[in-house]
Symmetry: C2
Subunit: 305 residues, 2 copies
């Protein structure tokens, strides 16, 4: 039950990659041959969710095989699975298990946040040790900080059992500024949140000097990254928005700490759907996209911090 | 596909009740006879999640039968079901369906918040019309506003299809102040959020003058309620924290608008586990607790606004 920050840092060193592949499956973008294999009926027809989840599972196992040599982790987003109901949750668990078996860390992008015994229930379901739940196969989760420390405590407590967290600080979407950039005593809200995360994570640091109570800071907000990094010199950063959302690798330099450490970068669509409009085996196109994303990121990582 | 605010307001008038019963099932607080019926093994043993979900379903159908005459809605909290994995999601859907059949509105307390096509996927799964998902049986969901307008838009858009939302503004937990009370230009963050909700909800108002883009404001924060109500004169308020969390009915007066309208009040544990330490049928104890919570709330409601 090694510290999650140690495990992630080691994996980055060994694989020479800080790439995380986001598993955001959208049914009508799946390879036609996968849909054909399963025979997915039209949305709304009986059995649609079961077939949709089945096709999604086949697709994502192929993606995982293709990206496993190039990525350190996968980040399945719970929303795309929840969309299929109970069978989607089963798919999410099976896909997570498969990724773990291929040597990938699993970051469940759930963005949960609730209070009291509900927070405890979420922590048990997502990071606990109950068979048939996500807990045993998930290494880390994303969380929303709006409800404050007690909503996060049941998750933070699991860092001592080798689990990790990424708290939303500054997200990559256009409306992120609605709340996150509000001026709180001369500085933006997201910086206040970063400082709270530093406090909440005290005591969770791993042996390699990094902290498994990490944060999410979007690649589309590079000017904010340096400010957040200053508040959180040891926290792991999970950086979405690289690739399809418009952030380029060269903008990621301010995220890293000394030795190109403390950062993982997520790419979802530009890897998952790399086969779109291309000839040949779709798995090859996905693998090549992951490989070139890894290389692109390595150039920045090895020159940063 | 009547407006959710109209449907909720009408149901409050007809039932003479603004009580919402929160479905927060915790396995070891279930009636012993329910656990005995299902034969729940120890946590961690094979088949635990399936049996736990089964016992939870039996318990909650009993609760729904008992509270249906006294409450306008149930509020299942997704975290307690997710805790059992895929079978828990199936249980959540079945329980929601059962409540709808008993004439109760269903508010799924999911506290979701995500961006782009993930937000769309959550909205489809929770409020859409796909069979075997929560969408067809859920009337409203709770959402977290930290990611801003674009994260909420796919949900707001569904208000025109008769669905409702409750955005977290000021929650009832001890750490709520960590972010929500931060000073933003002379006023607390939660008031800024309330003003954003007013903007986001423009155009969603029902025929009866109330807005289905509602908010969550805790009963433990009555002094804040009046300020939020001033910003949101037409929004429905979902008020947790009454009962077991310590807020009393008399403190709820500032939440209501003219005619005792615009408010639903949640009670979870003090209704669900009312049989604890009592003789006789557990369903009766639950029904009596719901009935007396309704009466307690009616006294305030009919004198307010």
């Amino acid at each position: 039950l090694q510290n999650f920050a140690d495990r992630l840092d080691l994996s980055i060193q060994e694989k020479k990659s800080c790439l995380v592949v986001g598993l955001d499956p959208v049914l009508d973008r799946l390879p036609p041959e996968v849909l054909y294999e399963v025979g997915v009926p039209n949305a709304g027809e009986p059995g649609w969710t079961a077939r949709a989840a089945s096709a999604t599972g086949i697709f994502l196992r192929g993606v995982i095989d293709a990206v496993a040599p190039h990525a350190v982790a996968v980040k399945p987003n719970a929303g795309f699975f929840e969309r299929f109901g109970a069978v989607g949750w089963d798919c999410l668990r099976q896909v997570s298990e498969y990724a773990a078996k291929q040597g990938l860390l699993v970051i469940c992008d759930a963005k949960r946040g609730d209070i009291g015994n509900t927070a405890a229930a979420y922590a048990e379901g997502l990071l606990g040790d109950t068979p048939d739940t996500l807990g045993p196969v998930t290494d880390a989760v994303t969380l929303n900080p709006y409800l404050g420390e007690d909503s996060l405590r049941p998750f933070i407590d699991r860092c001592s059992a080798g689990k990790g967290l990424f708290l939303l600080v500054r997200t990559s979407n256009p409306s992120a500024a609605d709340l996150q950039e509000l001026d709180v005593g001369g500085e933006p809200l997201y910086l206040k949140v970063a400082r709270l995360v530093e406090k909440w994570g005290a005591g969770s640091r791993g042996e390699r000097g990094l902290n498994p109570v990490g944060v999410v800071v979007g690649a589309t907000a590079p000017e904010q990254a340096a400010a957040v990094r200053k508040e959180l010199p040891e926290a792991f950063f999970l950086v979405p928005g690289y690739g399809a959302q418009g952030g380029g690798a060269q903008e990621l330099a301010p995220f890293f700490i000394e030795g190109g450490r403390g950062v993982v970068v997520n790419s979802s669509r530009s890897v998952l759907y790399a086969f779109d409009g291309k000839e040949g085996d779709w798995r090859e196109a996905v693998g090549e996209a992951a490989s070139s994303a890894r290389e692109d990121l390595e150039t920045v990582r090895t020159q940063s911090g």
